[in-house]
């Protein structure tokens, strides 16, 4: 479904043209209904991979194919027609919410932007359903990001991604701020969607037991290289 070929990425550091190689010739693939996990030390470049696939930064080299079509390359930016299919759950939930927008509106906005609901009223209902799915009371929808807790923010971000019924979900440390129960709940939702709609997941996490528990393949990222690890 998604094929990543020979991706490399440098980051600028310092004033002159000094750069640092973060990703070096990365290749992997994700099949439909598959959970692929990436682990690695902190700062190894996992989030960078996620951001490249979701189209917010461009790779320096390499191509990414989605369903056989070229999705991203150094001189092709993410084409909007796949926006709905590939969703990222970012690592820092607070920073990725508009401080002046109520969290419920943030979800409703995404739904409406993709025409997934005919009217605002229905969008509101969908939002409530989504919030329930991620174990949040619907009153929370009326709060601003500064008025919710870390875990709640993380779940809002997840709900926002799920709202679009994506085909590929990139979850970057998505359960790191959740309690065990909520985490289990989210994982179950994801597994459900996977069987029902053929969702694939790129799961980025540190939590070894968690990763072990439900992924099909595990990659380990270290010093810019991606190494396949067999499930133990």
């Amino acid at each position: 479904m998604l094929k990543v070929e020979n991706i490399s990425k440098d980051f600028k550091v310092g004033f002159r043209k000094k750069t640092e190689k973060i990703l070096d010739d990365i290749s992997f693939y994700i099949k439909p209904k598959e959970v692929v996990s990436i682990t690695g030390n902190s700062g190894s470049g996992k989030s960078t991979i996620a951001r490249i696939i979701s189209g917010t930064i461009k790779p320096d080299q390499g191509n990414i194919f989605y369903r056989g079509n070229l999705l991203i390359s150094p001189n092709q930016s993410f084409s909007t027609e796949y926006r709905k299919d590939i969703q990222l759950i970012p690592q820092q939930p607070f920073l990725s919410l508009d401080p002046k927008q109520k969290v419920g509106d943030a979800i409703a906005e995404t739904i409406l932007a993709h025409g997934l609901s005919p009217s605002k009223k229905e969008a509101a209902q969908q939002v409530n359903a989504l919030l329930e799915q991620v174990w949040l009371p619907c009153q929370l929808a009326n709060r601003y990001p500064s008025q919710i807790s870390g875990g709640q923010a993380q779940r809002i971000v997840i709900a926002k991604a799920l709202a679009l019924n994506p085909k590929l979900l990139i979850a970057d440390e998505s359960t790191s701020m959740l309690d065990i129960l909520a985490q289990a709940q989210i994982i179950q939702i994801l597994l459900n969607l996977m069987t029902k709609y053929g969702l694939s997941i790129l799961f980025i996490s540190h939590d070894k037991p968690l990763v072990q528990a439900f992924s099909n393949r595990i990659y380990h990222l270290s010093e810019g290289k991606l190494i396949l690890q067999n499930k133990e």
């Binding site: 902190s42 820092q92 174990w135 009371p137 440390e173 701020m177």
Partner: protein, 312 residues
């Protein structure tokens, strides 16, 4: 052992447009010198708010009542000026989610240095060296290049570790660390916990977490649900032999136990139930009594439990 912190009847209310809403209800616990306490609870149950209230850093629309006794003075009644003198010296907060909490406009170096300067170090070279040591202790290989970066150039875990490192600068009596290990691999987080307990061996440490393995590391554990205390006592005893139904379901949901979920829905009730146990709507064992009466504190094996189903 000397008592460092003792909290009784801590209640936090938030002011919203159409009235007030209770976040934390009647919490009590205490902390001795050298003790590590884990606060565990589902997300949104009020852990961070509890920590913030101790520091006097609640958001504008929230107020705390009750008593927070630290060093023989009630922190809740202190003025902002006195509190700000104590913050970072007498007690330290290590916040949840480092990247959100670092100033995006300042270099890591500036932010570490200004923290270090609070402890009285002036010399540039000593500053540099101490900062490097600190960063090393949270498994950074090349501290110097990290210090020259801006927070947005760090990865999530790196930012978290920078914040942890900053937390280690002080020699306070009380440390509250809010989900310290979020987004860090387990080796680093264990190393960090070791460092934390050895650096602050004389202080009281509170670790807010949802990671049972982290909680395992602590002496006592305090289990919260929706702003109220469920179970409080020795850590190993509670984890191995949970008595409260909520604690039981927590442990059942661990990945090793196969994500098993008891019937549960929305996480926190928006209004506190004046009567009855807070957990009863989701409790597999709930009875009529749970709905009407507030559970009393029970003590089993030196563990405090608030549940009708547990008999001492």
């Amino acid at each position: 052992m000397k008592k460092i912190l003792s909290i009784t009847g801590l209640t936090i209310d938030s002011q919203l447009m159409h009235g007030s809403h209770r976040i934390v209800n009647d919490l009590s616990f205490e902390l001795e010198q050298g003790e590590t306490l884990a606060i565990v609870g589902e997300s949104g149950c009020g852990k961070t708010m509890t920590a913030l209230s101790i520091f006097g850093l609640l958001p504008e629309n929230c107020t705390a009542s009750g008593t927070v006794t630290f060093d023989d003075c009630n922190l809740l009644s202190l003025r902002e000026k006195e509190l700000s003198r104590m913050r970072g010296i007498d007690f330290v907060l290590i916040p949840q989610s480092g990247a959100d909490f670092l100033n995006p406009g300042l270099k890591v170096r500036t932010q570490i240095y200004e923290t270090l300067k609070r402890t009285g170090i002036k010399d540039k070279r000593i500053l540099e060296k101490t900062a490097c040591d600190l960063l090393n202790s949270v498994s950074f290989q090349n501290p110097d290049s990290i210090m020259n970066k801006y927070p947005f150039q760090l990865s999530g875990g790196m930012a978290q570790r920078v914040v942890l490192a900053m937390g280690l600068t002080f020699s306070p009596k009380l440390v509250i660390s809010d989900e310290p290990t979020r987004g860090i691999d387990s080796n680093t987080s264990m190393a960090y916990l070791k460092e934390l307990t050895s650096v602050f061996s004389d202080s009281g440490i509170v670790i807010i977490t949802h990671d049972i393995s982290v909680a395992d590391y602590c002496k006592n554990i305090f289990i919260m649900y929706a702003g109220e205390c469920m179970e409080y006592g020795d850590c190993t005893r509670i984890l191995n032999n949970p008595s409260h139904p909520y604690t039981k379901s927590l442990i059942a949901a661990l990945p090793i136990n196969g994500f098993s979920l008891n019937s549960r829905k929305a996480s926190i009730p928006q209004d506190f139930l004046n009567t009855g146990c807070t957990f009863y709507p989701h409790c597999p064992q709930s009875t009529k009594k749970c709905q009407t009466d507030k559970p009393e504190k029970q003590i089993i094996d030196q563990t405090k439990v608030w549940c009708h189903h547990v008999k001492s």
